[in-house]
């Protein structure tokens, strides 16, 4: 790892460029998946099961069918069978995609409340919505299990979770013996409410057929993922499915797996012979695209008197669906954060009547680090060390899980910078008072893995004779700013000003890239774009040096620079010519190149992680039970930052998500009915403007030469992890009580104090 001072950005990469799609977004011109105008468009509305477990005994759609404007009512009786279950990845690695192992309306069994049982298609949205309420479904209800307390005695230890990628149990050393011999132990159970993503755009797909060719406008994290999934479900070759998704109105994991509605929209469009738009309602967003599962984590730390960890035992218990062994990988990063020779991590699952839980921003890291980092705070207290010093003492130069060195790190610097920004020296004093408020400070370390795709990523670059370039890859901008940063990457590699470069994504007709998941988008797509644009530039330079009419004729290509679209001799910048002049003189309308990049092999001798540190200042009113976060300061080492403005925004958004996880977000299950009790944005709390403090975001520059060509480690998620424990630790500093449940509510502050 090398740490450097921020390099002055010479080229476009790194600059805080305004978003290239900003104009479209502020004017309303940006069309999301449910906004594509199509002639003869029809509207579909889903009907959800009212029971959580059982069978459909009768389904009567006659009244719905007779309603004004209704074109079709699809149920398990007339939908037809899906062709096959979609595999998780195009390489067929892993098993069937979690959440896609089940497809609704294939039979009469009901596995969870809200399961799609009918789809009504009508000529207007209002008519479809009305008719959807006329579908009469009778059920034979059976008892359901939907919360941990109902299924504790049925818990099992799966062989693997997460589509088979992560073992159910991981061990190193002898945790039992080490705990027995430890000077100090911390041993607690942490509980977490279920969470729902709730992007403001609900999931939606618009489908139409032209002969045997399907076009789908989908709101997704990856158009290629939608194409791949729908192809498998429908048994239609990829070549006949085009998926377009230029804008996705937030996802946070809810649009990473391809849920049932895009395929249902396609089937409905085939049935009615017209385009079909299927947008989920807000309430349906709570049952139709996954959630972060309710969970309990039991964590035990053992340490010496000096605070050095000797053992970490981390067990998790959580409900999964009837179909998949799903748990978000909460034990992963928590087991790699610190040097610790003896470790045991175990997942246990309960079969429950819900959809398969899914990725939700910081899937696992956000919960696992809450347990670890609040326990570390307690350990610091027990061994009488400053919490920051305890982290430094347990710092690890290599990945404790694999023993491999980190490809780059930066954790120490992040801890120091964050401490400086929040004024950590105040932490040593008793909490300050401000009227009825007690002021506390807390901190936590954070990290997020660096994921690479399993397959080569591709891009295409084309330069026209007018000197403008278009660069393409089938990536979707879910709000990350990827269209903007890829414009910058392409412009830099081509030696063009960004205004003369256009990046296009969001369409499966463009070169293939994987879905933007796990904070991997910028790293993998920048690699492909960089490769394509560099290949194009080399091609143009080669053409110039071979062209007798060029002032660069006969020059060494390696001695040529390109600036502002002009190829010049590095040592004699007066000699050169524009790309455009070269092409125009030779009557060449355009030149094109493709580029691809494959990730480093899984057995590369490095481990990769994005590190950071979170600091919080909170005000607590112990009588009223109120917690107000006054300041958050985060410092992160995400490798190369492609755009300082959009990267900052993502980290800031993540940190506010962390605040939200700490103090607001909970979906409450009503165990008697097996239904979510607060399935609306009125009752599922997310931060509003008044809840969101200003946040400090700092970058620690680290160079990473391993993860991908530009050394990009990703900023989408690391901003969130660690905030909740920093807040909980700050509350402890303020009022002297430990918070071991998320979200932390008024009751937790006032009770038992």
């Amino acid at each position: 790892m090398t740490t450097t001072a921020p390099a002055p950005a010479e080229g476009p990469v790194g600059r805080p460029l305004d978003r290239v799609d900003g104009h479209a977004k502020v004017t309303g011109a940006a069309r999301y998946a449910a906004e594509v105008p199509l002639p003869g468009l029809t509207h579909a509305v889903l009907v959800g099961a009212r029971v959580a477990h059982g069978r459909i005994t009768a389904i009567d759609s006659t009244e719905a069918e007779r309603a004004e404007g209704v074109l079709a009512v699809l149920t398990h009786e007339n939908l037809g069978k899906i062709a096959a279950q979609p595999p998780l990845l195009p390489s067929l690695a892993g098993s069937v995609a979690p959440g896609e192992t089940f497809f609704p309306m294939q039979g009469d069994e009901i596995h969870y409340a809200g399961q799609h049982v009918a789809l009504v298609v009508a000529d207007t949205y209002e008519r479809a919505l009305y008719a959807s309420r006329l579908v009469r479904v009778s059920y034979a209800e059976e008892p359901s299990v939907t919360v941990i307390d109902q299924g504790r005695d049925q818990a099992y230890e799966p062989e693997a979770i997460f589509a088979g990628f992560i073992p159910g149990r991981t061990e190193r050393g002898d945790v039992e013996a080490a705990l027995g011999a430890a000077d100090v132990t911390v041993d607690h159970t942490f509980t977490f409410a279920a969470n729902h993503h709730n992007p403001i755009e609900t999931s939606a797909a618009t489908a139409y057929w032209e002969g045997d060719r399907l076009t789908l406008h989908d709101t997704t994290q990856g158009v290629t993922a939608t194409q791949h999934t729908v192809a498998a479900l429908l048994g239609v070759p990829h070549t006949r499915i085009r998926v377009i998704g230029h804008f996705t109105g937030g996802s946070f994991g809810s649009k990473a797996m391809v849920w049932h509605h895009p395929a249902l929209a396609a089937l409905a469009a085939r049935k009615v012979g017209r385009p079909v738009r299927l947008a989920l309602t807000r309430e349906q967003m709570f049952v139709a695209c996954g959630h972060r599962e309710e969970q309990e984590q039991h964590l035990t730390l053992g340490a010496g008197k000096d605070g050095r960890l000797v053992a970490l035992r981390h067990h998790k218990l959580s409900p999964t669906s009837p179909f998949d062994h799903w748990a978000e990988p909460s034990l992963g990063v928590a087991g790699q954060m610190y040097a610790c020779p003896n470790y045991e991590g175990v997942y246990r699952l309960i079969r429950a009547n819900t959809t398969t839980p899914t990725f939700m921003r910081c899937p696992g890291e956000a919960t696992g680090l809450f347990a670890l980092e609040t326990a570390m705070d307690e350990l610091a207290e027990l061994v009488d060390l400053d919490p920051l010093e305890l982290r430094l003492r347990n710092y690890s130069e290599s990945d404790p899980a694999s023993g491999r060195p980190w490809s780059s790190n930066g954790l120490r610097e992040c801890l120091e910078r964050g401490a400086e920004r929040i004024g950590w020296e105040r932490r040593a004093a008793p909490p300050a008072r401000d009227g009825d408020w007690l002021i506390g400070l807390g901190m936590a370390a954070t990290a997020y893995p660096v994921y690479g795709p399993n397959n080569p990523q591709r891009a295409r670059a084309r330069l026209y004779a007018d000197g403008t370039a278009v660069v393409q890859a089938a990536v979707t901008d879910i709000g990350t700013g990827i269209l903007t940063v890829m414009t910058q990457v392409a412009a830099e590699a081509l030696g063009l000003p960004v205004e003369r470069c256009r990046f296009e994504g969001g369409d499966t007709d463009l070169p293939n890239v994987a879905a933007a998941v796990g904070s991997s988008g910028a790293g993998m797509v920048s690699a492909a774009v960089h490769a394509a644009a560099s290949a194009l530039r080399e091609q143009l330079v080669a053409r110039a040096v071979a062209d007798e009419g060029s002032p660069l004729h006969g020059a060494d290509p390696a001695a040529i620079d390109v600036r502002d679209g002009r190829m010049v001799l590095r040592d004699a910048p007066g000699t050169g010519e524009d790309y455009a002049a070269l092409l125009q003189r030779n009557f060449v309308p355009d030149v094109e190149a493709t580029g691809s990049w494959g990730p480093p092999p899984h057995d590369a001798p490095f481990a990769s992680m994005t590190f950071g540190a979170q600091f919080a200042e909170v005000a607590v009113d112990p009588v009223l039970g109120l917690v107000r976060v006054r300041r958050l300061a985060g410092a992160f080492a995400p490798g190369r930052v492609l755009n300082a403005k959009t990267a900052r925004s993502q980290l800031m958004g993540g940190m506010i998500w962390g605040l939200s996880q700490a103090l607001l977000e909970a979906t409450h299950m009503e165990p008697a009915t097996g239904r979510w009790a607060n399935a609306s944005l009125g009752e599922y709390l997310v931060p509003v403007n008044a809840d969101a403090p200003d946040v400090d975001v700092d970058f620690i520059e680290v160079q990473d030469t391993v993860v991908n060509p530009l050394g990009v480690k990703g900023v989408g998620e690391v901003g969130q992890a660690g905030v909740a424990p920093a807040i909980a630790n700050a509350i402890h500093h303020a009022i002297g009580r430990r918070m071991r449940k998320l979200p932390i509510t008024i009751e937790d502050i006032v009770s038992g104090g």
Binding site: D18, R19, G22, H23, A24, K25, V26, T27, G28, A29, A30, R31, Y32, A34, E35, P37, E68, T124, Y125, E126, R127, N198, P199, I200, E201, T202, F247, T248, G249, G250, S251, F252, A279, T281, R282, G479, T480, G481, K645, T646, R648, S649, Q650, M652, G653, I656, W657, S660, S680, L681, G682, V686, P687, V688, N689, A690, A692, P693, D694, V695
Partner: protein, 183 residues
């Protein structure tokens, strides 16, 4: 003319001479949107949001919840910010409706200028996915015009009807501060 409300069965005076003739089937509704008279043929139960999005293809007003909880559908009716999902289109017949498309023409026509608030939203990166953004902008301009943007505390309070799940809030406040004196 009388109408019968389904829940009580009591009879009320109609709101206009044609009230009983209008619905439940599609009726002609006169709307004035962004200064242009637009006639649509819709059922009286269609919300202003539905009419704008599905009939007029003005999809700047977003559907985030359809139940008044997110603010993504915020437009102005007679200059006041309203939730289009909770407003029936037919009740807007004698009103002026303004959507984000009325702040600046999205196709670059008109004078080609963005509204100051739109410019500051871009400059301050006051959005990520952009889905809440038209609603935020309509609300933000309303907030300034109402005199509720004096300081951050006030902005926080009077902008809390618009959820941004990407959590661009600090940047939304920065954009409003910057645009405040230009609106």
């Amino acid at each position: 003319m009388t109408v019968r409300t389904p829940d009580t069965g009591t009879e009320h005076k109609g709101t206009g001479p044609e009230a009983g003739d209008r619905g439940p089937g599609p009726v002609k509704v006169r709307l004035d949107v962004n200064g242009v008279r637009r006639d649509v043929e819709i059922e009286p139960r269609v919300s202003l949001l539905g009419a704008l999005r599905d009939e007029l293809q003005l999809t700047g007003a977003k559907r985030g919840c359809d139940q008044g909880t997110c603010g993504a559908c915020t437009v102005w009716v007679d200059g006041r910010r309203v939730l289009a999902c909770l407003t029936l289109a037919i009740t807007c017949e004698d009103a002026e409706v303004t959507t984000v498309e009325g702040l600046a023409a999205p196709d670059g026509s008109g004078d080609g200028q963005l509204h100051a608030m739109q410019e500051e939203f871009i400059r301050h990166d006051a959005f990520q996915c952009g889905y809440c953004t038209p609603g935020q902008i309509m609300s933000a301009v309303g907030c300034v015009r109402e005199g509720h943007a004096g300081d951050d505390r006030e902005i926080k309070e009077w902008m809390s009807g618009n959820i941004c799940r990407c959590a661009a809030y600090p940047h939304i406040r920065a954009a409003i501060r910057a645009a405040r004196d230009r609106v």
